[in-house]
Subunit: 316 residues, 2 copies
């Protein structure tokens, strides 16, 4: 059987026809057009799905199910998406509408959750029963896979690992609470720490690179300068990796997965990040004499959303 995967972002909807091994047979995209409201977007999603199935030369009869990754969650008790910040959605009956338009079972889950599932079907965590995928981007998202299936808990509100508190009373977070992991382990955190470096150290390499303008600091710039050995940015990076590993160790103590998969913008720092995390994490581990999760980099990049969404309906 084949599966349709839809990856809904604020700017575009990506779609793909995917086989049971997570291979994309065909993919395409359309603008999300958020300003038109959710009904128009969902109709376009259905039209896009039908079009790519046709273009792939396959029939809808061959499609077992449709999966959708969204920047939010669906409430399984109501079947509604209570809200999606980027999409301005409130109480949207996404799966019901899409199922009506396509005549297929529709599964909806968080975009980080589906990306984690994708890596476990066709990416770096393939072959493992359990993994935790961590997107290190504007925020920190999580995709927990247990027994080879996406895990989001009893009410669909689990897997939000970026809002695990690692500094009670710490940095204020957009979620309204304080000290969430994403305030210390996201790309945004690197930018904040870079800005603090700039303020303390007006003559530093980072300051020169942005001509003293803190609004021009990017995570990539800080990471590149750290890689080149600039002491200030290296210290920011060291602090970043420390907080990243505080959270990873807590996840070992709770979930004890076989593997952590690092994805998102910060993960493009590649081996530089991976080696630092692999060196730091053991310093935070509780049962030092026993095996614990290995750490890897995500491999599927932008295709993870489509592949993982498609795999939501696969019965492994």
């Amino acid at each position: 059987m084949l599966y349709i995967g839809l990856d809904v972002g604020g700017m575009s909807v990506k779609a793909g026809v995917v086989d049971g091994d997570g291979n994309i047979l065909i993919k395409s995209s359309c603008p999300t057009g958020v300003e038109r409201g959710h009904e128009a977007t969902i109709r376009d999603m259905a039209a896009l799905a039908l079009r790519i199935v046709k273009e792939s030369g396959r029939a809808m009869d061959e499609i077992a199910s449709v999966g959708v990754g969204i920047p939010g969650v669906e409430d399984p008790s109501t079947g509604l998406v209570p809200f999606c910040n980027n999409l301005h959605w409130h109480d949207v009956p996404l799966s019901g509408m899409l199922s009506g338009l396509l005549g297929k079972p529709v599964y909806v889950d968080n975009d980080a959750t589906v990306a984690g599932l994708a890596e476990s079907v066709a990416g770096v965590s393939k072959g493992y029963n359990s993994s935790v995928f961590i997107t290190l981007g504007t925020g920190v998202g999580g995709g927990i896979v247990l027994n080879r299936r996406a895990f989001t808990g009893a009410h669909g509100v689990g897997s939000e690992i970026g809002h695990m508190v690692i500094v009670a009373g710490g940095e204020p977070c957009n979620c309204g609470h304080r000290g969430c992991w994403e305030k210390y382990a996201s790309a945004t955190a690197i930018i904040r720490m870079g800005g603090e470096l700039l303020a303390k150290n007006p003559g530093c390499a980072l300051s020169m690179a942005v001509a003293g303008d803190p609004s021009r600091v990017t995570a990539k710039l800080v990471l590149d300068l750290a890689k080149e050995g600039d002491p200030g940015c290296a210290e920011v990076f060291r602090e970043y990796v420390y907080y990243l590993c505080v959270g990873l160790a807590s996840l070992v103590n709770i979930l004890d997965p076989e593997v952590f998969v690092l994805g998102g913008g910060v993960s493009y720092a590649g081996e530089f990040l991976l080696n630092a995390v692999r060196e730091e994490l053991p310093k935070h581990i509780f049962y030092t004499s026993m095996p614990y999760a290995r750490v890897e980099l995500a491999t599927l990049g932008n295709d993870a959303g489509v592949i993982g969404a498609a795999m939501l309906g696969r019965r492994a």
Copy 2:
């Protein structure tokens, strides 16, 4: 079928013959005798198991399996218990030895994990698919139940929720790290906070109750005074409940269980604790418009260890 449950503590080994619904048919105990070494203890455990089966009037043929709860974990990759602080055990082949002596399959897991399983089979979380049991004692232990089975992760090092870090760089913990949840949410944390109150406020009610001697502060005393409305102890209690809920909310964001079960010494504060936690927890929740875990008090008390250990081998 019937099951034998063994609950190994530093002072005594408790044993019970348990039916498939978690009812204890007969129970007994013997001294652990830690100083004699692990072989003598394990031989006594086997003898105790055989004795209670005989005294129950049942035959060993009716026993499906034997479960053991220990203050530590078994490494599933080696079948050894790497260490148990209270028992002075190092690399002990517990399940192998006991299985040899009793001729039955033997399952070993952490004492908090089996207590959580017991509550989900025969206690307050019965009927739920997922729960997190939290022992609020000298430390903070955790028993995660997913799909009605004890969950300890891929390498057996999960479910150690007391060592989730909630204050990076915070209070030093016995585990060698800093800021672990158990440094803020255990009975020991209440004693520490009570001692701090005493030092700041020599004329307070707590100080009078212990005649100014910080070594006489107990968690029960602080909680009792808080219940009576003493402002200083009420503030300690408020702070304690805050940190307890910081950790519970993180567990919602990760595991999203159906129910939290509070056990251990602090939970004997009963409704006073339960009501405070139920009032505080919503202030820390991420998806406020969606359902999340309810909070309950454990009901099985000291029997939880024997029942849960017995249930490790039950195929639900």
